[in-house]
Subunit: 159 residues, 2 copies
DNA sequence: TATTGTTATACTCTATAACTATA
DNA sequence: TATAGTTATAGAGTATAACAATA
């Protein structure tokens, strides 16, 4: 269908060419695609996109230190500091200086934070259940497995 | 080592919990992971990350219209207008109003743009060849196939 | 009326470096 | 000296809405 195009006047289908083999671009477009649904699904909770994963990760790892969380989520420390402060101001997390290292900052959900996280969970799950794009559930499972391996998510990581 | 954790004082490995099944988060982290290498590999060409895919896409689709390109790359029209203008100012692309629709704007690489694209190609290819993360080349190929299907990249798309 | 591109604005995220207080 | 977190700043991406020209 696209083979009748004038070589120099584009009208119909877009050719990705070698870029269709670019893992980086495919990941970027896939992330945008996924994000679009994510955002509309979670919009009503009035939490910023980046904050949701932080809340959920703190729920899974109570007492996690800011820097550890930042590196797990590939967020810069400087940015994490701002977001953590904001979540504290919003009353969703508590930040506590541990006695053994007074430079550090441990993060935990407050009761209100737990509530908000619980409120968001159904919408998150609905988003995940819907977020298959053109994939079958089995293909989506394979995709997740490959992404985890790509990220070496189970192995310990350096900064 | 991590099994002696107090339920509430995190120190060792980070638990992703249900988030390890979140396609959205996995895509986001993977994209950041990939981008990190991409950025350092292409840094010396002094072209912004977003501009590289635009140049490469115009090379593949000479005469493509701004809006079509924007939707293919999932960039908002307003943003594309700025980037296209910038690339034009840099002398890398030419923007031409087609006679059949004088609202539109067709994009083509200039000679200088072709040169820059050609200069970047080896670094792009080196990045792609390196960008397997923890995957085997076969797994990376499967990952690309799944992402293309997730994106329905071959099928025509709505806005 | 609808569409293409443009401009303007505000917000989010990112990168960097300098700073403090602790270790 | 090195590390954890903070602050400040600049840059890049994104979302939205209002607008002009054209269809």
């Amino acid at each position: 269908m696209a083979d009748m195009l004038d070589r120099d006047t584009h009208d119909g289908a877009v050719r990705f060419g070698p870029l269709a083999e670019s893992l980086g671009l495919l990941l970027r477009l896939s992330q945008l695609h996924s994000f679009h649904d994510f955002y509309t699904a979670l919009e009503r909770h009035h939490v910023r996109p980046g904050e949701i994963s932080i809340l959920m990760m703190i729920r899974e790892n109570p007492g996690i230190r800011q820097g550890v969380l930042a590196s797990a989520l590939m967020i810069k420390r400087a940015h994490m500091a701002k977001m953590a402060r904001r979540l504290e101001d919003a009353g969703l997390i508590e930040r506590r200086v541990p006695p053994d290292d007074r430079r550090a900052m441990e993060l935990r959900l407050t009761a209100q934070g737990e509530l908000r996280a619980a409120e968001m969970t159904p919408d998150l799950e609905a988003h995940e259940a819907r977020n298959f794009g053109g994939l079958t559930p089995e293909e989506a499972a394979t995709l997740r497995t490959l992404l985890r391996k790509y990220l070496a998510l189970d192995a310990p990581k350096e900064d």
